[in-house]
Symmetry: D2
Subunit: 302 residues, 4 copies
């Protein structure tokens, strides 16, 4: 049968940076410390295409995904990112003319959360992973991985709270009483979605659960599925005692990473983005940053 993919390109050939599959949904079984977890993951995989070749022959990618991912039912992988590493390496093995490959995945992920042990329930977060493999000399393959998480929390605006204090004190002079100095006052709150990503050398590991904890600690408060009346009031007051702009959420998160992840090298590249779905506006407010962990450590250790 004629191999149309292996023909020279019709148009004068460019090497193309990426050719692949996207939006491939698969179940992935992951072995966590204490339990098996099945993720509904969405994969994208790609390789580069040399100038002399018409097509990438993508059926190999679909086969490979079936081999690596479908078989986790019987042989679970350690993590979403280790599945991506394995796929990125296999892509290079199956595409001998490719020099680089990428495997990305995204999945909803559940962790138990609760204001107290009897209020725990499974809450949803997002896991993200990307592995990029590059063919080096003598058949060596070099893999870099990104591991990301997203967590939804609550923020309370510090600016409106200050201005409310001024306005309400005119109307309610008693608010000026020293005993009410730290009384949290009304402001606007919002659903905040924050994403944190580490770019690591293969071999360096990072626990997604701890990344999620870092995000939650940077928001005014985590959010919870189950809040009985007293709980709800306590979460509200706690969030209003920690009012934060998106700028504050981002800096608080970035400042905490050096100490929270002491095992990670200074060369680890960090990306963070936070989105506030404003309750007081129809649009969203966002902040983002990217730096090495070394740069963040230098700024956050006085």
């Amino acid at each position: 049968m004629k191999d149309v993919h292996a023909l020279p390109p019709t148009d004068r050939g460019f090497r193309l940076l990426e050719v692949g599959l996207a939006d491939v949904r698969k179940p992935l079984t992951v072995q966590r410390r204490d339990r098996l977890v099945t993720l509904t993951a969405t994969f994208a995989v790609a390789v580069d295409l040399p100038a002399g070749r018409k097509g990438s022959d993508l059926s190999r990618n679909a086969e490979l995904l079936a081999e690596v991912v479908d078989e986790t039912v019987t042989r679970p992988v350690a993590s979403l990112e280790s599945a991506c590493s394995q796929i990125a390496r296999s892509l290079l093995a199956r595409h001998p003319s490719a020099t680089s490959s990428r495997a990305s995945a995204r999945a909803v992920y559940f962790l138990a959360r609760g204001v107290s042990p009897d209020r725990e329930s499974l809450e949803d977060f997002v896991l993200l992973a990307t592995a990029r493999a590059r063919r080096g000399e003598h058949g060596a393959v070099h893999v870099v991985r990104e591991v990301g998480t997203e967590a939804v929390g609550l923020t309370a605006c510090p600016c409106a709270m200050e201005n409310v204090r001024e306005q309400l004190t005119e109307r309610y002079p008693l608010l000026a009483d020293p005993s009410l100095a730290d009384l949290p006052l009304v402001t606007h709150n919002q659903r905040n979605r924050t994403r944190l990503t580490f770019e690591l050398e293969e071999g360096s590991e990072v626990e997604a659960d701890r990344m999620i904890e870092a995000i939650e600690a940077a928001q005014s408060s985590p959010t919870y599925a189950i809040l009985k009346r007293g709980d709800e009031a306590r979460v509200v007051v706690d969030a209003h005692r920690h009012p934060r702009f998106v700028e504050d959420v981002l800096r608080s998160l970035l400042a905490s990473l050096g100490a929270r992840f002491p095992d990670l090298a200074d060369s680890v590249y960090v990306r963070a983005e936070t989105v506030s779905e404003e309750s007081i506006h129809k649009y969203n407010v966002v902040a983002s940053h990217a730096a090495t962990l070394g740069e963040l450590r230098a700024n956050s250790n006085p």
Copy 2:
């Protein structure tokens, strides 16, 4: 050329309720009282298909949309719903074997909003319209229309505020002072999206802008694009003086309609739905209702 659509169906023929096009994007020019507005509208159109016919011949629908919608550039229509009426009627004319038709459309729509005249800006809302035509006796065509709007606003939770009051009063005894009895206290706020739809006989008109005003009045507060510091505090305090569950938003909206739209008949069918994108939870909270305007008037006029 063979007309494959007009062949008898391969499988034993069922009459099918709806066959048509969806996700057809078109610019639609509308003549408002004082200005021309160009909407980027998304249309769906359909007719029923008799049992004896294989295909509906959908190219007629695309032609018709081009004729009716593209030509509003030079001959603007009065509203999104009048465009839908015209399309629904034309669908029946072009599909002689059809007995019913439907034309639906959705578009982002802009209105000036501001806490004061010098803070005005164009804010985004959503317009929805559907026209359903039915062939009656002697060539008569009967059309029923739905006109809908969506508006985003702000809500503050009344329950958490009450419980916060109890908890904070223990810590701040001065809060029990009568002069602070109506001091708004912290609670959680959220972005609220509410949709209102009227189902009307053709000929009965309703102004979308007034539907949007009805929704905004039912939320704890409208939201605004431009809020300088003092404004923001005033909006926050105002919203917290009108704390509302989704249940309250919905009832307040429904209760207001009879008086706000005195010209509409009791037989007008009303649908309303409100979604609160909770700041304190990862999930949304929703409420919905459907009733005739007559039923709503009976309940809301003491």
Copy 3:
């Protein structure tokens, strides 16, 4: 603590048809005949709200979801729809003043598919379920369930193929040779997404896998993740030997249900919708129908 939900409504009270939670993501463990499956499901739950009560107290719904769904990790349910039934019943138990409840869920679902056993891989489909409970006399609760599936397949347009035949025969007279009479000719193909839903009395069971098979049989061809070169050509030719409009897909599906599901009663209500993401247009083409299984049987059994 004050129960704000139990207060009378501020606005004159309407009974509200539905108040609840939406977009609640949870992992659900399902015991299939031969294996455990973990779905990432998205739930919506609601109850009605009597006229005399201000709020529905939605924290009960979140608790209930945690109890029913989170615990399937250790006690798997039989299906997505049985989870919904259990939730709908529990909603009525937890909301004594409610008279009706609804629990809906949606999840991506995987089945092995392949043109041959050595080409099998897990492909993604969608499961849908809704249970509606209604309080009857003497504490009886009546539950009706909807079970739905969605499957993506391939369609080839029969109309363009006929017209291509006429046009190409002018250019290639040999096409008129009787030996080429059934040669499949070029037309446009598209990704087709079809949804089938059954509304059943509780107690009546239907297997989602067989619903998916019914949809796939009605499309021009199923689609597959893994297609090596020869396979791809065979699938293409097979699809072009079964060219189908959306009208044909829908009728073929509806006509097959009576015989495919002989155990289901004539009173079972069927909804079906098919969307063709046209390759030759920027818009989609759709067809939908709703009927009882009895009506479909009457039409499809000559």
Copy 4:
């Protein structure tokens, strides 16, 4: 009133790369050569934030968007990208402590298309624009712009067609007749979405309509809203005479740019991405590339 934004940050201060607004919907009036066009555009705007400042004071961004965008009703801009340039410059003017800014926008855009003049209708495309401003020495501001377009078209797979030829020729020996050598044979088609972006110095202009033409020429065929029967067959045959992988679409597009845009400098940076919504698979197939126009010219001029 206290300026909370101007306070020093609570956490040790990092400079943040971007703080801003996203998902701001606005109507934008653009003066095209021959007509006024109103776009429903979605904007995102951001500036960097110096280490010593707590908040960016985003209300200035909302004010600025209202001034620049809302006023295009009376003073139309030349293009989406020129609106972005103006906003990016104004952002720097309003945020004296910022050193860089970005304004991005996206809008659906309509052009007349048809297989013949009497079949023309308005079809939807996408416009994208980004302007990045950077403060230089002596108050100079340097702006770089990206201008992008997306167009949906049709592709036919060349590989399946070749393999179909082999398989069908066994069954239909007449297909080997030399007179049928260029008979287009069945394969799978798909909806293809291709995006092209140029990164230009301010002052260098590029016409979006011509970028869209470049994309359409690289696909197997454009798609059309109105296709009467004979047209549809002609488009199908034409597309099958130009079968193309995503790799071919991308290379064909890239190879054409040097000659199509002779006025653009070699330093212009080009990004292109093409997505094929496979009819024969449930997943998508993608290809992407990035290069300077100089590199593309070197490769495409033999």
